[in-house]
Assembly symmetry: C2
Homo-oligomer: 208 residues x 2
Amino acid sequence: MKRKGILIVVSGFSGTGKGTLMKQLVQSYDNYALSVSMTTRSPRPGEEEGKEYFFVSREEFVSQIKNDGLIEYASYCEHYYGTPRKYVEAELEAGRDVILEIEIQGALKVREKYPTALLLFVMPPNAAELRKRLEKRGTESPDIIRMRLERALEEAKGIEKYDFIVINDKLEECVRNMHSLIQAAHETPERNEELIDNIRKELKNICV
Amino acid sequence: MKRKGILIVVSGFSGTGKGTLMKQLVQSYDNYALSVSMTTRSPRPGEEEGKEYFFVSREEFVSQIKNDGLIEYASYCEHYYGTPRKYVEAELEAGRDVILEIEIQGALKVREKYPTALLLFVMPPNAAELRKRLEKRGTESPDIIRMRLERALEEAKGIEKYDFIVINDKLEECVRNMHSLIQAAHETPERNEELIDNIRKELKNICV
């Protein structure tokens, strides 16, 4: 019996190192695929087509929406961002676990369409640590840091919607932990319908 | 923050080696406690008080029921069997994960009282393997084996009520797997209310 892939949605406060975590996870274990988003914004210096994003025109993006080519999409600062369906479904079908990074509204939309999607929420060990990390970046003004902390407070309201929380304290440990959580998710009854059906049929045949 | 223990209910077809699995789990890792049931039946040769069971009189058992001293109980072949509450709650409070082995009706009763209980269903890799294991025991007549298979078919109807299925193919691997599932269960939002509340409060304080 072929094991089908799980769609994994990663959310969490800005500054918790989601991106690094996900990259490290994909590098450390086989069987993961990172979903690449589509956007209408222009590439920034160093960004490559198909790596950070698929860069498309507004017309192309709207046509993708119309043709149900996106699992979810949202607009942010006058640009569209979305998750192309084709790549995700091909990878899931091939048995790979596909990872997306999106915020809570997108995460809940994904779960509506893919009821067996796994929702992970990445958190720092505590709020002081979050502020420290945001300040350490050194690239943002106190106003921006404050805005991000306020946003974190807002996002924290949705934590109960997630399947697991992932505390990002030490990177290596956190990546191992994340992998274990995903492995565990493969063992739920709703992700093993075929296996359960098979054993029921077999038992029926034996008992007849 | 002290991590609270999880109440773990293990069910599964007879002949899948639940008992061995649980014993091995408790031996292989710290932090587990095996719940010992109370029963009104007489000890069999070799059975020790407080090890296999707590052996009590019918009067004592009924008094336990009346005083809400049991998490769940059932009668089987004119004898009572139940799970003493005191031991379980003391162990959970001390941060240990407590394991019970009971069938589905009991498992669902436990979940009603302990909404964060973790329900594990142990299965053989397939039904043929289950029959083989039952036959291999060599202690049971074909009629009994047939009865157990029919019972398995009945129990299989409830698999979707469980949080995880545990395939018992190779013992060592299965014990490791079971441990991982339990570790994963510790990372759900509903089992980390205090941690989540704390970070929300901290964020609120920072943002004020």
